[in-house]
Symmetry: C2
Subunit: 353 residues, 2 copies
């Protein structure tokens, strides 16, 4: 019948024991005599005390048992974007196993970002740095919590990060198509740069493109060069990594006089959209057009046809990041993990002409 809130101190007083004992009743029951324990518990029940408030404990302990995953994207990004979701799923698995909570923190605008990063109750951050990473890193560093960046394009070697080897991944993708016999290949690039939508000239890649797509591009080029195909011979269509710009890119690619027989897509997301466009156009995959994605998101495994792709080791990335945060042992040197070519049903030899 207590007005307002019942605190541990209230219970202790009502039960006639010290606050220390009352605390023990809840957090280390084995240490207090059974008779006393019962009495305290009864009083607690009568008073409507719901057990120790986590806030007190955490303040004392200094850790919250949760990690934050942050991105410079709206909150919906975590539940929408296939790449982010794959990562979150993997992170979720690791956290589940260790009883760690996950807080998602996002921010569209600058001030929100700062506020969200600063007010998140977490023991450390995993940063999804697809874009605008610098600011995110800066803010996080200021908070003085362990953090680790994923998919970072920033050169700064002092930022702890786990990356993937986009160049050799790209090369593996291109090599796969080339080995199948394709010589007329087009590239679907991704990015957040408004200027890089539609036809993209190769010489604009290095100065203008973000690090991830740039590296993948160089991987493609590398393999193509091995087969004697110069980069100028391979059309690049830039997309904003969304549905509409992908559909436009496909439209452009296939309205040319000599449409490609195979497509190198820089993400599964874009590849999947492209497959939809092809299906609507009545073009069969892989008979008419082969397509290979990038990332290895789960959707790629259940699409029709199942998408060939270059898979990221999500589980490994998640395991390493979470462990690093939890043990406050972020790696000194950067690590670049290998990708794996996963051949499924969306690629085949080109039709004989």
């Amino acid at each position: 019948m207590a007005k307002g809130h019942v605190r541990l101190a209230d219970v202790a007083k009502a039960a006639g024991v010290s606050q220390g004992t009352a605390s023990n009743v809840f957090s280390r029951p084995e240490v207090v005599r059974e008779e006393v324990r019962e009495r305290v518990l009864n009083v607690a029940r009568e008073l409507g005390y719901g057990g120790p408030d986590i806030k007190g404990r955490l303040l004392r302990a200094g850790r919250v048992n949760a990690i934050g995953v942050a991105a410079v994207e709206p909150l919906t990004y975590f539940f929408d974007d296939p790449w982010a979701r794959s990562l979150m799923t993997a992170i979720g698995e690791v956290c589940d196993a260790s009883g760690t909570g996950i807080a998602v923190v996002s921010a569209m605008n600058e001030e929100r970002l700062a506020w969200n990063i600063n007010s998140a109750l977490v023991d450390g951050f995993i940063l999804l740095c697809v874009e605008g990473g610098e600011r995110l890193v800066q803010l996080t560093r200021q908070r003085q919590l362990p953090f680790i960046a994923l998919a970072l394009g920033i050169e700064d070697e002092t930022i702890p990060a786990i990356g993937i080897d986009n160049i050799s991944g790209g090369a593996a993708a291109a090599r796969h198509l080339l080995e199948l016999g394709h010589r007329n290949i087009a590239i679907l690039s991704i990015g957040d740069v408004d200027g890089l939508v539609g036809v993209v000239a190769p010489e604009r890649v290095d100065p203008e493109m973000e690090a991830t797509p740039r590296d993948r591009m160089h991987g493609y080029w590398q393999a193509l060069a091995d087969y004697g195909i110069p980069r100028e011979a391979v059309p690049i269509q830039g997309t904003l990594h969304d549905r509409s710009s992908t559909l436009m890119a496909m439209e452009a690619l296939f309205s040319s006089a000599n449409p490609p027989t195979a497509i190198l897509a820089m993400s599964d997301k874009v590849a999947l959209f492209a497959m939809q466009w092809l299906a609507e156009r009545g073009l069969k995959v892989p008979e008419d057009v082969s397509i290979i994605g990038f990332d290895g998101v789960p959707e790629a495994a259940i699409s029709l046809p199942r998408l060939t792709t270059v898979a990221q080791p999500f589980a490994e990335i998640a395991r390493r990041s979470v462990t690093a945060i939890l043990e406050n042992a972020v790696p000194e040197n950067r690590e670049a993990l290998d990708l794996e070519l996963v051949v499924r049903d969306s690629t085949a030899a080109p039709r004989l002409r």
Copy 2:
């Protein structure tokens, strides 16, 4: 160069001001004289103080500015399941607008669940009660924070909940098919009950099925009855709401002598799997088979063909739940929101015979 951690008190002492003033420098800078402010700020920088620790503030303020979303599912559920994701996306949008954080809390096993619920730093919970909801509700109630249950099947009227009108939603779906002229309809049900996979006799629905699918079923039956079709005439195939059991169900449905011309699927997820099966079998949607889903997840809008469905008002559900938690004003009476029939390309009149 300070060993260990720098606290506000350290900064205050080093700058020769009271802790109160030091606090003001950071949280209400306008109230302290510029000269002093600068001095404190400088000292803070020298000492490597990264601004007030959120834990202290929160302890004082008593609120965390975050809400928890909990489910009796592995953490990956939130990023995998289309329904959960739709909801999370909507919740994310509302939270973004108000600067509220989101913590996802999950639990496969009993003890983890208790621990996770009790140690989540949140101001309240949104419960995704698809199954095993009782225990989740009980635990949450114990924590004495505001909470609201979604998709609750439990009858207990004292549990604050926001629901949807599954019966009239189901009726709308069935009516749509009936109006198009279908008379040979099959039902794809969903659930977590192992026994309810494969053929399900109508009389088992009420005693064995969970509330959500049961209500949807009654909605279907209601509309069917209006057209003079008895429930016994409509085959029910139970699925476990996953890919493999759905494919098996489709296999069973279409290996019968008289396969259906239309399918009532109890979720978009199942409907989408079913469409894949049909596509692989060379059956055209909607020409050969019409199919209507349930939920209105985003994937349904971009599938090929786009899926007709009965859409939940996710945005409205999210808005109400988050507001209720944040304002600690959970509704007394239960609310049931209306669903909306969204007609797209997966339903059409049956082929003339």
